[in-house]
Symmetry: C2
Subunit: 221 residues, 2 copies
């Protein structure tokens, strides 16, 4: 039986926008592991109750159930040791953890303020109340307040991107000559932004767009 | 003849505060290479004219002269191959470059706005005009305007630190179990801030302070 990945979907289920699910999809591709996705919507807690928690991604690999994107990547690394490595040696794994925290603590909030109103509009109506409540608590603002701040958030987002842009001007991937999980993490964040932003989030960011295209091409996605 | 490192000094030459010089001092220690420092002050261009440019750090290693902190680290890595590695393999080197850009594009500006007025006050009077002119151009504000914004800059600085703090909560060094040049880069930035800030820059940042102490202890500094 093929692996199954529970993957956050918009009301239009062809749109899969979770940054955490995207990093796992690239990690699975990196490890040459075929998988099917199962569309999952906010509040469908019972659909993944078997995992013992209520968030995606959830990976079902034979009898094994793993949740949390980082734990899934670590599971894949330990289990499929003959496939290309996601984390490399201990030093690379250490630096990958810094990239994870940079993505989650710096990049995600900078993108989130630009895309939350767009996400609200594209998810299933029956999950909008949940989304509004949790995201407004997370950002300490209403979705409408977030929306009206866009002009101020865009330059902040561009500034946050600067170290990424400058690095990719000098080398093809964050992890050097070839991609690794550090690349997947940052790709996930920007793919989330790109798929849900009502305007061209990465306009003029040719270096970053080129790297994203290169990653997808590497994995034949 | 012992190696010489031209090292930015305050009017009180026991205070050496350059982030770029600090990363080189740790890199030299990492490579077990003894060196003497030569105190250097802003505008002493003629003192390092032999290097073909006007900024420190400048390393003189026998007949070899190297400037630019990253170029110096790369020179040490290539030259002293039997000493502990600063960059590890190609993937670690790639991620180290991201840490460099994060430090320079995100962390340095966040610290700079808190410490520039303090640096102005501690450098030699004959270099203050140069410092004011170049830094005011860099930040697009007068030193006095920067000074008056402190209350707004402190929370920004703390937010910028978050990925570093969270990473070091999980592992002893950025590069995992032991330090490498990625650690030296970020240490340099914070040491610069710590030595020039008129208030306790890292108050309450026990995890980060612990890591800085651990680094110095590792190298017996």
């Amino acid at each position: 039986m093929k692996r199954k990945l529970y993957d956050l979907a918009a009301a239009d289920e062809s749109v899969r926008f979770s940054p955490y699910c995207w990093r796992v999809k690239l990690a699975l591709a990196h490890k040459n592991l075929p998988f099917d996705t199962v569309a999952w919507h906010f509040t469908e807690d019972e659909k993944i109750a078997f995992s013992g928690q209520a968030k995606v991604p959830v990976l079902v690999d034979g009898k094994k159930v793993v949740f949390d994107s980082y734990a899934i990547a670590e599971y894949l690394e330990e289990t499929y040791v003959n496939e290309p490595s996601l984390f490399g040696d201990a030093a690379q794994a250490g630096l990958t953890r810094f990239v994870k925290h940079w993505a989650e603590d710096t990049l995600h909030p900078a993108i989130g303020r630009l895309v939350l109103p767009g996400i609200f509009a594209m998810i299933r109506p029956d999950s909008q109340a949940y989304f509004r409540r949790t995201r407004e608590a997370m950002y300490g603002m209403t979705l409408e307040e977030i929306s009206s701040g866009r002009a101020a958030y865009e330059p902040v987002f561009r500034t946050v991107l600067k170290p990424l842009r400058r690095t990719l001007e000098m080398q093809p991937f964050l992890a050097g000559a070839g991609p690794a999980f550090a690349d997947h993490i940052v790709f996930g964040a920007l793919q989330w932004g790109r798929l849900t932003c009502p305007f061209a989030l990465l306009e003029g960011e040719d270096v970053i767009e080129g790297w994203m295209a290169r990653l997808l091409e590497t994995y034949g996605i």
